[in-house]
């Protein structure tokens, strides 16, 4: 992928393969994410997106290849890598019966933030996602979009340099989806975060995004959207995606 050549990449995945029993989930996947990049990891359900996220977040280890977060190998320097990483999982992971602030405080403790610092950070991230007034509400009382924003706030609490989001707009209405997308893009622009945004929804790929297209566990193309579209000799990213994912697999409707 293009970008600053000298700086340490925010994320570097090098020829990673992984299999569950007989099924190969990832096959020689390489992804490089330059600093301050918003990158969409695009793939159909079952393409390997969640597996890749599980490997980067070290739920389990990659069978082969290496993964580095800001230059820290996730296997050899797991703690250093995880400290620089913020994650929003596909499934909801907030405690519904606890308040927004309590959820965030728990996460701050998981990162060893002293109480005073935690308090400042909780206030800061809630402000960042425009939910300061809901700090003492139970998560159960929030809308789906608001809960997602709390999860994003939580992922930002320990000031990571790389933010991973796995299908963050699942289950949200169109308006909330757009709001989340805009919000995360702004984080990338204003705070200099790198973002890897996994989705199967093509309309979440902006015209200036970087995109990595994953299909049946392989990267079929990667780069700025315009280049990918040109290479696929397509008119737009939707068409390019359709062409690329039909090339080596059963016909599936995107």
């Amino acid at each position: 992928m293009s970008g600053t050549q000298n700086a340490t990449p925010s994320l570097e995945v090098l020829s990673v393969s992984h299999a569950f029993a007989k099924r190969k989930a990832l096959d020689g996947v390489s992804v490089t994410l330059a600093p301050k990049t918003f990158c969409v990891l695009l793939g159909l359900n079952g393409a390997g997106k969640t597996t890749l996220f599980s490997l980067v977040t070290r739920l389990y280890d990659n069978a082969s290849g290496t993964i580095e977060v800001l230059g820290h190998d996730v296997r050899k320097e797991a703690s250093q890598a995880l400290r620089r990483l913020g994650v929003v999982f596909q499934q909801r992971t907030l405690d519904l019966d606890l308040t927004v602030a309590q959820n965030l405080k728990y996460h701050a403790a998981l990162h060893g933030l002293p109480p005073a610092k935690a308090k400042t950070r909780v206030r800061a991230v809630l402000e960042r996602v425009a939910l300061s007034d809901r700090a003492d509400d139970k998560v159960r009382r929030l809308s789906g979009g608001q809960a997602r924003r709390v999860e994003i706030a939580r992922a930002l609490l320990h000031e990571p340099r790389l933010l991973l989001l796995d299908e963050p707009t699942v289950g949200l209405d169109i308006e909330a989806r757009q709001a989340i997308l805009d919000h995360v893009r702004r984080l990338c622009d204003e705070d200099g975060l790198s973002v890897l945004w996994a989705t199967h929804l093509i309309d979440e790929v902006g015209p200036e995004s970087e995109v990595v297209i994953l299909h049946h566990g392989r990267v079929v193309d990667a780069g700025p959207v315009s280049e990918v579209v040109t290479r696929a000799q397509a008119q737009d990213i939707r068409q390019a995606f359709a062409t690329l994912t039909r090339a080596d697999g059963p016909l599936e409707d995107a």
Binding site: R23, G48, R58, D61, L110, R161
Partner: protein, 284 residues
């Protein structure tokens, strides 16, 4: 942003940070428990039903001769109280460890595991949090039991505290190990049938071992091999201010083995979770 920059190493966590993390995990577990009133009530009703109904019914059928730590003949309900305390911990241990992986809590397991602290520390903290909740349940149960006439010496209430920590850790670690090992036991009914009931009945919780030996040598051997028996006996002796050394030894050994097994199972490269595709399934 003042976060850690690329390449440079952030300071390793000091003891203070570890303590903050442990405290946070225990605090959350306690908060959740307080909010889940049904769980609290269920955890209390179960042993109380045994105490109020079962024990009362069997009082005349089952006589218990004088065996240590008791110095006089005791009523049947006095005899089974330590077993019921251990039962509270058994349920609690299985529930918190298993729900962590299979229920709605699964996401929370993932949140826990992306913490930069070492995984053994996170899992042990999680176990300690479960034990803390079980302590709360046990003491409320004992308070109600006292009103029902189960009146152990006052120092016994203090003496069982360390015993409860050891037995709670053992049972929690067992639950955590099971949660990673056995895929079939995905719902709680399965755990009830195949783990909780056999462990509870084939132990010294409801009848003294010598009585079981009279009935069946095989059953007696099973009870002797059952770690739950030692949890019950450790608590029973502690309640009267005595230390049952064999039980302590067995429990400590089992805790270490189960905990090591659980940590191994959750090790990203070696564990069973990795082979199976982890909580959340093989994933897309």
């Amino acid at each position: 942003m003042v976060g850690a920059t690329a390449g440079s190493d952030a300071e390793p966590y000091g003891a203070g940070a570890y303590l903050i993390c442990l405290r946070g995990i225990v605090w959350r577990e306690a908060l959740r428990f307080i909010h889940q009133r049904e769980r609290f009530v269920a955890a209390l009703v179960r042993p109380l039903v045994w105490l109020f109904i079962f024990a009362a019914g069997f009082r005349s059928v089952l006589g218990v001769s004088i065996i240590p730590p008791y110095e006089t003949y005791v009523l049947y309900e006095v005899y089974i109280t330590p077993g019921l305390i251990a039962m509270i911990q058994l349920f609690n241990g299985m529930q918190s460890s298993l729900s962590m992986v299979y229920d709605r809590e699964m996401g929370n397991m993932r949140t826990l595991l992306i913490s930069p602290f070492p995984r053994w520390f996170l899992l042990t903290s999680k176990l300690l949090a479960g034990v803390a909740v079980s302590l709360l349940q046990v003491y409320v149960f004992l308070a109600i039991a006292w009103w029902w006439g189960i009146e152990p010496p006052l120092y016994g209430y203090l003496a069982i505290l360390p015993a409860l920590v050891v037995s709670g850790l053992m049972l929690g670690a067992l639950g955590m190990l099971l949660s990673s090992l056995i895929k079939q036991l995905e719902n709680f009914a399965g755990i009830m049938n195949f783990v909780i009931f056999p462990m509870f009945f084939a132990s010294s919780a409801l009848y003294p071992l010598w009585r079981i030996k009279e009935a069946s040598n095989v059953l007696y051997d099973i009870c002797v091999l059952n770690p739950f028996t030692y949890a019950v006996e450790l608590i029973r002796f502690a309640l009267y201010g005595q230390l049952h050394e064999v039980s302590l030894g067995v429990l400590a050994g089992c805790t270490l083995i189960f905990l090591a097994g659980a940590i191994y199972a959750y090790n990203p490269s070696k564990g069973f979770i990795a082979r199976r595709g982890g909580p959340g399934g093989a994933g897309a």
